[in-house]
């Protein structure tokens, strides 16, 4: 900038001096004619015109000319590209891969991390958390929410919404349908700035216990069920057989940012005097103007003290409350894995740059004469460098445009097949698309890429000495020693980068297989799962539900192809309810043991999933509401709490002090079963207590029906998909028409739990293969060129008696030396870098010896192949032809 100023000043001084001289000469002319000096001066000025205007005109003209010459350079660059179709195609392919993968990953980063939430002033919205020395977790209970909503000095608005919501059955109307509902507290819509196109959001009295049955419809449901009827507000909709009054309709563009957007909202109706500690919803709040998250957290510590005073024994003394920006909370678990992918694509781009720089150096050898001629007719070195850089940038921009289209299409196709459980990408990755950020990113990446791969060749070529180059004969104006050294360095760098990427990909692939090979503790093959919403239905109390389950299981087990059926609220790998417990006869320091897995199951559950019984017995039909209260624990719990003793014979009390719904007498432990990976395949099993569904309190049954839906599980003798329709029909009949939804084989549930790892692995595999391909092409190009360049020398060697094998080995040795140097550097770099992905690895060390041996050998093999071809070609050189060619 400074130099630009001084240059402009120097130019203007120059023009001023020039004009002054002219004007003085004109004045001199007048004085010579006998005109008075003062008048002569005026005449001269008049004749010359306004000096400032002239200066300005020259200044602007220079700029226009500058852009004109840039345009000429661009046209020239395009012409050069067209004249060398092979070079252009190769370079474009490398650049399209390099920039394309960057655009692809950026499009995901953009949609997930950068794109602001679609709410007004979304950066003021926070998610409330419960903090403990072990970490911070979202989620609220009625008791916590009631404390939080009193913090009016930090929160402008606060609202609860259910995690998952429930599937409700719309009856009546033209056709029955299962819709997705979420229960929210009254000011949810105001907090998120939701547009209401008809009617109003919930009133406060509708959000109180026993409030009216009202709903807010989504725009889609309004169009679908009511045909967009402008009189829909005030009408009723029948949900699970109960009439609800429609009070409002949201606008079409109200995006909830939830992965499965609801069709309908119901009031949560939390009791302000509740003592229910069950966590089944999230709480968001809008900070008051001027309140920072730090200030909010400080205030929430006071709230935590208040909560502890009100409900002793629920929160530990070091636990507290906190907030996290809502957007960060939505994407927190995907951020780090996206950053790994960002690093990977930058490596691919660097390899592509090295590749194209190499191509340019080869081509530059043939262009030395052309450049020298340009220099001879007066183009300065800067001008020549500029022209060469413009050529690189034009090339990179073309490659970038190609890459953008390919990358975007590729990533959308990939996400459509496997969404990788990435939040905010929309249905079928619809949120991933072209927008200004992506275009700016691609353009900047292309410009930078062009400069990066163009600068070395441009500096190198422009250094050419005009006289020597022009004196040299056309054909052999070859590349010098220095240029070969640059190219060798580029190839070494490519090899090193490719190795780092390949090792990372290989480590992730090993993790993935390790994950696949984890014994989940249950048999997922030939198991069908079906979900059924009981919320608001006539099956609300424990005896009713268990009668239903008994009837349904009997009917389903009569079907041909079915061996066993069962029911539960939770499927393996989908987590369980956290309910604290006590062991009779023990007094832990905190008064009770922390909430761990609680699973209500029907007797068939263990048979369906083939969960082995290790000690004691399983539940059977005689474990009824009135009989002895029983529980089964898993091996992890037995190991942790009875390391030396026998759990059979001891008793547990579940959910003591957790609210009235949970209060129940002690249970006899009657069995120990094998561990199931309920919290994901990559986590160790936690202690779990199983209780028969017949023996849970009405309170828990109601809560479970509200927070979750009932999962039917059926083991089949045949492909579970082939009998899914009959099973669904039986279930609908026996329940009197409750629809089943979410019919999936258990294999699919398992697959979904590894979806993210699968997604990361497939992308890194693609990147690794691109890197391998580019690096191999790079070393092939270098050696093929070297052989062409040295045809004469090789010819002489062979004429003097060198064996073909000697020539071949010499070329192979020279090529492989570069490859091996690159590989060694890559191994060292990988040893240092792979710990960055350690947290994504499972069952494999970040310095896994197998990976660090096999991958370099593979890359070396590919390099050998790439070096071998030109080496073999070298042996076919005819000495006579080679010598004559000069």
């Amino acid at each position: 900038m400074l130099s630009w100023f001084s240059r402009r000043h120097r130019q203007e001084d120059d023009i001023d001096a020039e004009l002054r001289y002219h004007s003085e000469m004109l004045a001199q002319e007048c004085t010579d004619d006998g005109i008075a000096p003062l008048e002569a001066d005026l005449t001269a000025r008049r004749k010359l015109g306004n000096a400032t205007l002239i200066r300005e005109e020259i200044y602007w003209m220079n700029h226009a000319l500058y852009f004109e010459t840039i345009w000429q350079d661009i046209i020239y660059a395009l012409r050069t590209m067209r004249k060398n179709p092979t070079f252009t195609a190769t370079a474009l392919a490398a650049l399209a891969i390099g920039i394309g993968v960057n655009s692809a990953i950026f499009s995901v980063v953009n949609a997930v991390l950068l794109r602001p939430l679609s709410y007004p002033d979304a950066d003021r919205i926070v998610l409330l958390l419960t903090t403990s020395p072990g970490g911070r977790a979202p989620g609220g209970s009625a008791t916590k929410f009631n404390v939080w909503r009193e913090q009016t000095n930090i929160f402008k608005d606060i609202s609860a919404y259910e995690y998952n919501g429930a599937q409700l059955n719309v009856t009546g109307g033209a056709y029955p349908e299962q819709i997705h509902s979420i229960r929210v507290s009254a000011n949810y819509f105001r907090l998120l700035g939701a547009p209401i196109v008809q009617g109003r959001p919930f009133a406060d009295d509708e959000d109180s216990p026993g409030g009216k049955h009202v709903v807010v419809l989504s725009y889609g449901l309004w169009q679908r069920r009511f045909g967009g009827d402008p009189q829909a507000v005030g009408k009723t909709i029948s949900l699970n057989g109960v009439p609800y009054e429609v009070v409002g309709i949201t606008g079409p563009d109200f995006n909830t940012e939830l992965d499965s957007p609801p069709d309908i909202w119901l009031p949560l109706q939390l009791d302000p005097n509740s003592s229910d500690h069950a966590q089944y919803f999230n709480v968001i709040a809008r900070l008051k103007p001027g309140v920072s998250t730090t200030m909010a957290e400080a205030q929430l510590q006071l709230a935590a003290a208040e909560f502890r005073a009100k409900f002793p024994n629920i929160m530990g003394p070091r636990d507290g409350f906190g907030v996290e920006p809502f957007q960060d909370a939505l994407v927190s678990d995907v951020r780090s894995s996206l950053l790994v992918l960002v690093v990977a694509v930058i490596l691919v781009l660097l390899i592509a740059c090295a590749n194209v720089a190499n191509l340019l150096l080869v081509r530059a050898a043939g262009r030395k004469r052309e450049i020298a001629i340009r220099a001879a007719i007066g183009a300065g070195r800067v001008r020549i460098i500029r022209q060469l850089l413009i050529e690189s940038i034009v090339l990179a921009t073309a490659g970038g445009a190609l890459g953008l289209l390919l990358g975007l299409a590729g990533v959308r196709a990939l996400l459509d097949v496997n969404p990788g459980s990435i939040p905010r990408i929309g249905v079928h990755a619809s949120a991933i698309g072209m927008d200004w950020r992506l275009i700016v990113f691609t353009v900047c990446t292309s410009l930078l890429t062009g400069l990066l791969f163009g600068i070395v060749p441009a500096l190198d070529v422009s250094r050419a000495d005009v006289a020597t180059t022009l004196k040299e004969s056309g054909g052999r104006s070859g590349s010098g020693l220095r240029q070969n050294k640059i190219r060798a360095l580029l190839v070494i760098g490519e090899m090193g980068l490719a190795l780092v990427l390949l090792i990372s990909a290989a480590l992730l692939i090993r993790s993935f297989w390790a994950l696949r090979n984890v014994n989940p503790g249950f048999d997922a093959r030939n198991v069908l799962t079906l979900r059924m919403s009981l919320a608001g239905s006539r099956f609300q109390k424990t005896p009713q539900i268990n009668q239903l389950i008994r009837d349904a299981i009997q009917r389903v087990e009569e079907l041909p192809g079915v061996t066993r059926a069962g029911a539960s609220y939770n499927l393996p790998l989908e987590g369980a309810f956290g309910v604290p417990f006590n062991i009779v006869g023990r007094v832990p320091t905190s008064g009770r043991y922390d909430g761990r897995g609680w699973l209500g199951v029907s007797p068939g559950y263990f048979d369906v999933f083939k969960i082995p019984v290790l000690r004691g017995r399983l539940f059977n039909d005689r474990d009824e509401a009135g009989s002895e209260r029983v529980a089964i624990i898993n091996q992890a719990m037995a190991r942790q709490f009875w390391p030396h003793g026998d759990p059979l014979g001891d008793q547990v009390i579940l959910g003591k002090g957790y609210g009235p719904e949970f209060e129940e007498p002690a249970r006899q432990i009657i069995g120990v079963v094998g561990d199931v990976h309920d919290y994901g395949l990559n986590r160790n099993p936690l202690p779990v207590v199983y209780v028969p569904l017949t023996q849970v309190t009405d309170g828990i049954t109601a809560l479970a029906a509200r927070a979750s839906s009932l999962a039917w599980i059926v083991r089949t003798r045949v492909d579970p998909n082939s009998v899914s329709t009959q099973i669904a029909n039986q279930l609908e009949q026996v329940t009197g028409g409750l629809p089943v939804a979410h019919i999936r084989p258990m294999d699919e549930v398992v697959g979904q739990s590894t979806a993210r790892a699968d997604f990361n692995m497939s992308l890194l595999t693609i990147f690794g293969c691109s890197a391998l391909l580019l690096a191999t092409i790079g070393i092939y190009g270098l050696m093929a060129h070297a052989v062409r360049q040295r045809t004469q020398e090789l010819g002489i060697r062979m004429a003097l008696g060198a064996q073909a094998s000697q020539v071949r080995n010499m070329i192979i040795f020279q090529g492989m030396r570069l490859a091996l140097i690159g590989i060694v550097i890559g191994i060292v770099a990988a040893l240092a870098l792979t710990r960055l992905i350690a947290s994504f690895l499972f069952g494999v060390n970040a310095r896994d010896p197998l990976v660090f041996i096999v991958v370099p050998v593979l890359l070396g093999g590919a390099a050998l192949l790439a070096v071998g071809l030109p080496a073999i070609r070298a042996t076919h050189i005819d000495p006579v032809d080679a010598l004559r060619s000069e």
Binding site: I15, G49, N50
Partner: protein, 113 residues
Amino acid sequence: MTKQQPGRLELLQGTLEMMILRTLLLGPSNGYQIAKTIEQMSNDVLQIDHGSLYPALHRLEKRGWLSAKWDTSETKRRAKYYRLTAAGRKKLITEQSKWDRLAAAIGQVMRPA
């Protein structure tokens, strides 16, 4: 940018540039000398706008047809001297032949044989 003065014959831009190149065929000169030379060569018929001379000179220099250098004038003053480059010489030849053809064609139209 430059103001047009009433009664003055405005030269086409290309024509002025061509004439500048032509005068420089005689040897390097400064802006004042170029203006004077053009006026004298046309027997003072062509009155060129001294102000528009300089943008034209700079444009020709930028295009690489002229090179410029500061030197001492015959009046012992510092002045910027312009010199025709090889590319400028080539440009002059093409411009000259274009002009000749144009002039001949216009002549044919205006005064048919």
